[in-house]
Symmetry: none
Subunit: 490 residues, 2 copies
């Protein structure tokens, strides 16, 4: 066997094992008995130990030295394996273990602190994690920028300077739009009523099917925080149900279908290679966002959904499909990122991006974090945070060590904007299909131009190839201004 | 760290990983999307490769050479690790991985072939697996008997000669009882009616709770073939529902609760050591059988169940609890092992035991298996097999490589007979509790005398210590003759 074949065979098993670990995490969040926490942490730790040992196996280095690519695809595979090997090898096993242990502990402490609105219970642990992440970042950065080293794990090849420039360009138009919309005379009605779990889940399945979710290679379960999990032939979604707010369930479902369809849509040739996964968190989020927002919250699709929901729930509190469209896109002041509308969502991300850059750089101490969060929220949103659970304690990300992850959400929106422009140009009669509850033409275009490639192209290349233009904030901002000006009759 | 501590720490991780592999197998049988077969077989193979590498790690040999036990428990742990190490080291990694992959794939092929009544679709795959198993047996046997080498995996320390002698001793009395019962003037009525899935599952949960199943460390799902899965804090059961036959669901459930309670009942000190699992398949089956039959199908417990079922289904086709007891123990000609009554069950096992011994010894080819099965069935049961799904295709065992496993079912019955004798002597008023739907006194006795020990004693020792007598077929045969003579008014 050639060095490249050895590399590929070894990687194949590592990919399969990491897929097993992901399935185990799914199990924990959906079906695991509540008394199994201790056993499961032992099982997860054992899987992590095996994976870390494989990712830093010195044979990878030897094979990489001798691997000869036959084409661009081989070259990209080598590049991705080399990248993972380099990163994994820079992190001492002790640090990896300590991070795994601390973040698994911190998750429970965070949840309790949030429930009790007691940041003082969580901040010391967060500080420990921050110190470990800074140590990890220093090991990865090898003299370079700490935050960039972390960001690179989620959005390879992107720097905080690029993100900051992008966000600076977005902010003024988003802030202006937000002010116009919140100050508009016309305000959409909320959706009132009680919506049974059973019917919501049935509709969620209908929506997932409308967006091309392949049920033979997936399934849907309930989780506290919706997520998608798994690849290729086994990519599962989860959703949640709030009986006073059916949009929560339906749009969470469509969002996760976007993530899951990306994995289902990758060419099966790439399975169990480093090309067999979504290429970055930003690229992933571009799919979930375009499914959820540009398609799912479009006038055309909400028209179909209005009829389906009216039938299923025996009438709705809004009078017609136009009013329903406005309701599904309602912009209201709120503290919580995951409940934010398309206009305000990116402002939530910018707040976190700036704070976590300061934390990683050592410009902000954890002990001053609550104050910093609240001051920034007041400045950006004009409202004082009423309690920590609605402020710094709302997200799990930092508790589990995800620093550098937040900006990929906004990047996903920017990518989705670029893709949506190109999609609309390529499929001019898309709205006719969406109005019939059929997202197929859009899904096919995304599959062909984005999803099937998996990890073949770096994220920016992938989006630029698909959209035929350079990455820019203009399409998403134009889209938002046009859409919300119309809805709010500005 | 001492050699023994090293051994224990290493084993701890191996046990955790093997628990992960078991959870993955559970997933495959209960919730996995049907299109994920190929991916899953790759994942299972990767896990098997990791496990095999660990089980044959040369460091184990070194630690074993220097490990010094401080007490009998340490000595038993060393004995079990040494046994696994010796066995695993004899199997080439290629063979272990290939078996994992083939058997994971064969499961789906078997299920399709059974559904289509098409043995020709399955037999070629079965032949591949048989060849791999013979190769494995030869590697394990190291010059000894092939079948014994496989049997030893499921019932350590037992030989086919011992089993054959036991079965020879059982056969005449079983055959005579079967003939008397089938020819008796009195024949119990069948249970007629339609029994909704929802109500059956609710009753199944009630029964599981009555038998002490700990729901905080387990769950119940539906599977084609009911099974139990997992250990300690995460031991799950499965059941199935036939809407014309509620006994199928209820007694499958109680049976699996027996298996699962054994795992839940092992001292938590033994978790993640080789003592933290049921000691053999025969010992395991003794628990499931005694829960299902000696307790669950007793006059006392069926009296309680009659009332519960009458209430739940709004009346039953049988007039009273006595008639219901006979119905729940009805002996009728039938093709299917898993639906067989207590009298005929062991005859089904003997058929499989003889056929699989011939297959492994090379005295019978897979291409002649259908014919051999049908001829033997006609001889033993006096009825011609009507279709392959009722014959050779009915069991999944051979498809997943379980050769040498079947006899442990009958051994479990023999063990259950011994334990039941001792239990009745120790808890003379057991029937009073069972008549109230409370199995606690029996469960507590089994937990104290069998379950909590896990792997601490070899299987025969365990059963002999608990029952206070040598292993013998006499108690189970006496019990069967007494019970069925009374029911059938012989």
């Amino acid at each position: 066997m050639s060095a490249f074949d050895n590399l590929l065979a070894f990687q194949r098993q590592t990919e399969a094992l990491s897929s097993v670990a992901e399935r185990l995490a799914w199990d924990q969040e959906t079906v695991m008995p509540r008394g199994a926490v201790e056993q499961r942490s032992e099982e997860m730790a054992a899987m992590e130990a095996v994976l870390h040992e494989r990712r830093t196996d010195p044979r990878i280095g030897e094979w990489l030295d001798h691997a000869e690519p036959e084409d661009d695809e081989d070259a990209r595979i080598i590049e991705l394996i080399a990248r993972d090997y380099r990163r994994a090898s820079r992190i001492p096993a002790r640090l990896a273990t300590e991070l795994a242990r601390q973040t698994s502990l911190a998750q429970g402490i965070w949840a309790d602190a949030r429930a009790k609105d007691a940041p003082e219970d969580f901040l010391p642990v967060l500080n420990d994690i921050l110190m470990l992440k800074r140590e990890e970042a220093a090991a990865l950065a090898d003299g370079g920028d700490l935050y960039d080293a972390l960001l690179d794990d989620y959005e390879p090849g992107t720097t905080q300077a690029e993100i900051a420039a992008l966000f600076d360009a977005m902010r003024p138009r988003l802030v202006a739009l937000r002010e116009d919309v919140l100050g508009a005379e016309f305000q959409p009605e909320p959706l009132d009523g009680h919506f049974s779990q059973e019917t919501q889940l049935r509709l969620a399945r209908t929506c997932a099917t409308a967006f091309g979710y392949d049920w033979t290679r997936g399934r849907m379960d309930i989780a506290v925080h919706p997520f998608s999990s798994g690849r290729w032939q086994d990519s599962r979604i989860t959703t949640r149900v709030v009986e006073t707010d059916p949009f929560n369930c339906l749009y969470s479902t469509i969002h996760e279908v976007g993530h899951s369809s990306y994995e289902q849509g990758i060419d099966s040739d790439h399975a169990f290679t480093p090309l067999g996964r979504g290429v970055s968190m930003g690229a992933h989020e571009s799919q979930s966002r375009i499914y959820e927002n540009q398609l799912g919250r479009s006038r055309a699709f909400t028209g179909w959904l209005y009829q389906r929901m009216s039938d299923a729930f025996g009438g709705l509190s809004v009078p017609d499909a136009d009013a329903f469209y406005a309701t599904a896109n309602r912009v209201t002041p709120g503290f919580i990122r995951t409940e934010a509308d398309e206009v305000q969502y990116n402002l939530h991300i910018m707040l976190r991006f700036d704070l976590e850059r300061d934390l990683i750089a050592g410009r902000l101490d954890v002990e001053n974090l609550v104050e910093a969060w609240n001051a920034r929220f007041l400045k950006d949103f004009g409202v004082a945070v009423d309690r920590p659970a609605n402020g710094v304690l709302q997200d799990v990300h930092w508790a589990v060590g995800l620093f550098g992850y937040f900006p990929t959400y906004a990047l996903g929106n920017v990518y989705a904007g670029c893709l949506h422009s190109a999609l609309r140009a390529a499929v001019p009669d898309l709205d006719e299909a969406l109005a019939r509850g059929e997202a197929d033409p859009a899904v096919e275009w995304l599959r062909e131009n984005v999803q099937r490639h998996g990890g073949l192209y770096p994220p920016r290349d992938l989006i630029e190839r698909a959209s035929g233009t350079d990455i820019s904030e203009k399409p998403i901002l134009d889209y938002l201004e046009e859409k919300f000006s119309a809805i709010y009759k500005l």
